[in-house]
C-alpha cells in the first residue's frame, strides 16, 4: 500500500463517517411526528341540572305572509283607460278587511291599522296622476295585509317538559358515567381499540334495558375486520352489564330526543 492508497483509505473512512453523522442527525428529524397540539382544558362538573331549562314556548302563531297578487294592473302602463280599471281592485281589500277582523278576537288589534291608513293615501295617489300610479303598483296595495291579521292560535298544546341542549348534555353525561365502569372490556388486540361501535339503546321508564342493537361499526383499517364481530359483542356487553341506569329525570323520558332511546358509542380509545 503506497502513500496514495493510504490517503484514499483515510479520506474514504472520514467521508463515510461524515455521511453517517449527517444521516443520523438529519434523518432522525425527518420521521418526527408533528408536535402534539395544545391540551384543551376541561373541567369535570359533578352537579348537572337534570331538569328542563327550556324557555316558555311562545303562544303567538307565525305570520301568514301571503299578499294577494295584483300583477295585471301594472302591465298596461300606456293603457288609455287606467282610471276605470282602478276602482275595480280597490274595493276588494276594503271588503276583505272586515271579515278576518270579525273572526279575530282581541290579540291583533293594531295590525289592521296600516292597511286602513294606507287606503286613503292610495286613493289620493290614484286620482292625482295615473302615470305614477302604474309604476308603483308592482307592490300590491295590501302587501302587509296578512301580517298580524290572522290570530289563529296554535293548536299544539304546550308540552310539560322539553328537551333542551343543556338537559340533553347532562343526560348524556349521566348515561356515560353509568356506562364507563363497564367499558374496560378486555380487547382482542391492542389495535382493535381503534374500532368504534354505535349501539342503539332503548330503556324502559325505570332505566332498565329494553333493547340494544348495533347500529354501525366504525373501522377505517381493513386489517382489523376480523375484530369487528368481537367488538360488537363487547359493545353490547357494556350496555347489558351497566344497565339499569338510575337517576335519569322521568319527565324527560318520553319527550322528543328524550332518553327512551339513544345511541351509545363504544370507543375503547377514549376510555383507555
Amino acid at each position: 500500500m503506497d502513500r496514495s492508497e493510504a490517503t484514499g483509505v483515510g479520506v474514504s473512512l472520514v467521508g463515510h463517517g461524515a455521511v453517517l453523522a449527517v444521516l443520523v442527525l438529519g434523518l432522525a428529524s425527518v420521521g418526527r411526528a408533528p408536535p402534539p397540539s395544545d391540551a384543551i382544558e376541561v373541567s369535570f362538573v359533578d352537579e348537572v341540572g337534570l331538569v328542563s331549562a327550556a324557555p316558555q314556548p311562545t303562544q303567538e302563531p307565525p305570520a301568514q305572509g301571503m299578499a294577494p297578487e295584483t300583477g295585471p294592473v301594472d302591465d298596461a302602463p300606456a293603457a288609455p283607460t287606467p282610471e276605470p280599471a282602478q276602482p275595480e281592485p280597490r274595493p276588494t281589500p276594503a271588503a276583505a278587511q272586515p271579515a278576518p277582523r270579525q273572526a279575530a278576537p282581541s290579540p291583533a288589534r293594531e295590525a289592521p291599522a296600516p292597511p286602513r291608513a294606507r287606503q286613503p293615501a292610495q286613493e289620493k295617489q290614484g286620482t292625482s296622476g295615473s302615470g305614477r300610479r302604474t309604476q308603483r303598483s308592482r307592490l300590491g296595495d295590501d302587501i302587509l295585509k296578512g301580517i298580524g291579521d290572522d290570530p289563529t292560535p296554535s293548536t299544539s298544546s304546550r308540552p310539560t317538559a322539553r328537551m333542551t341542549g343543556e338537559a340533553r348534555a347532562s343526560i348524556n353525561a349521566a348515561i356515560r358515567r353509568a356506562l364507563v365502569p363497564c367499558e374496560r372490556q378486555p380487547l382482542p388486540s391492542p389495535e382493535a381499540g381503534a374500532i368504534r361501535v354505535d349501539v342503539s339503546v332503548t330503556l324502559s321508564r325505570n332505566g332498565s334495558l329494553v333493547g340494544a342493537q348495533v347500529r354501525r361499526v366504525h373501522n377505517d383499517d381493513p386489517g382489523l375486520r376480523a375484530y369487528e364481530e368481537r367488538m360488537r359483542d363487547l359493545a353490547l356487553a357494556v350496555v347489558r352489564q351497566c344497565t339499569p341506569i338510575r337517576g335519569l329525570p322521568p319527565e324527560l323520558y318520553d319527550v322528543p330526543r328524550g332518553w327512551r332511546q339513544f345511541t351509545y358509542q363504544f370507543d375503547p380509545r377514549q376510555t383507555r
Partner: protein, 224 residues
C-alpha cells in the same frame, strides 16, 4: 415507532442478522470503493503529471545515457518504459556482433511489455470497482428480500396486518437496497471514468515507447 427509528444506526440495530451482515458488507464495500477511488485518482494524477514532464525533458535532452543516469530512476510509467528500453538496448549491444533486426524487434517487444505492465499496475484495483458496481445492488436486494420475508413472517406470527407491524421491517429491509445503491453508483461512475483515463495514459505511453523505439533504431543504424 419511535421518532428516531429512521436513523441509519437504529435501522441497522433493528435488522435481522442476515440483513446486518449484508449491510455491514455493503458498508465495507463502499468504504473500500471510495478508498480505491481517492487513491487511484491521486495516483493517476501524479503519474500523468510526472510522465508528461519526464517525456518533455527526455525529448529535449541531447544524450539519452546521461539523461537516463540523471532522471531515469523515477517510479512513474514513462521512466519505467524508458528503463526497460535502455536495459534491452544495453543487453543487445553488449556483444561484439549486433543483430540489428533482432535488436529492433526485441526492443519493440520490451517497450510494449513495459507499457502493458505499467498499465496493468495502474489498473490493478479497477476490477474491484467494476465488481462492486455490478454486484452491490444485488447484494442490497438480497438483504431487502430477506428483510421483507421476515416482515411477512412477523405478520403471519402476530396475526395482525396493521401497518405498524409491517412498516419497521420493510423500512430496515429497504435500507439494505439503499446501501447497495450507495456503494454501487460511485463505483460504476469511477470505473468508467478511470478506465477512460487508463486508456488515455496507455495510448500516451505507447506513443512515447514508439518514439523511443524510433530513436534507438536510428542509433543502431548510426553505429554500423
Amino acid at each position: 415507532m419511535p421518532t428516531d427509528a429512521m436513523s441509519p444506526i437504529a435501522l441497522f440495530m433493528q435488522a435481522d442478522i442476515v440483513v446486518k451482515v449484508v449491510m455491514g458488507g455493503l458498508l465495507l464495500a463502499s468504504i473500500w470503493t471510495w478508498a480505491i477511488i481517492v487513491g487511484h485518482w491521486l495516483k493517476m494524477r501524479r503519474a500523468a503529471r510526472e510522465s508528461e514532464r519526464f517525456e518533455r525533458e527526455f525529448w529535449k535532452s541531447e544524450d539519452i545515457d546521461s539523461f537516463y543516469e540523471k532522471k531515469g530512476r523515477g517510479e512513474h510509467p514513462s521512466a519505467k518504459v524508458l528503463a526497460a528500453g535502455i536495459a534491452e538496448w544495453r543487453r543487445s549491444t553488449a556483444g561484439r556482433t549486433i543483430d540489428k533486426d533482432g535488436t529492433r524487434s526485441r526492443l519493440a517487444v520490451a517497450l510494449h511489455s513495459a507499457v502493458a505492465a505499467e498499465t496493468d499496475r495502474l489498473a490493478a484495483r479497477l476490477n474491484i470497482l467494476a465488481t462492486v458496481g455490478s454486484v452491490a445492488p444485488f447484494v442490497g436486494l438480497f438483504g431487502t428480500v430477506w428483510g421483507i420475508m421476515r416482515s411477512f413472517s412477523d405478520i403471519a406470527g402476530q396475526q395482525s396486518t396493521s401497518l405498524a407491524v409491517v412498516a419497521p421491517g420493510i423500512a430496515e429491509a429497504l435500507f439494505a437496497t439503499a446501501l447497495g445503491l450507495f456503494a454501487a453508483i460511485p463505483a460504476v461512475i469511477a470505473y468508467n471514468r478511470f478506465s477512460f483515463g487508463i486508456n488515455r495514459l496507455e495510448a500516451r505511453l505507447q506513443r512515447f515507447a514508439d518514439g523511443f523505439h524510433g530513436t534507438l533504431s536510428r542509433e543502431l543504424e548510426l553505429d554500423s
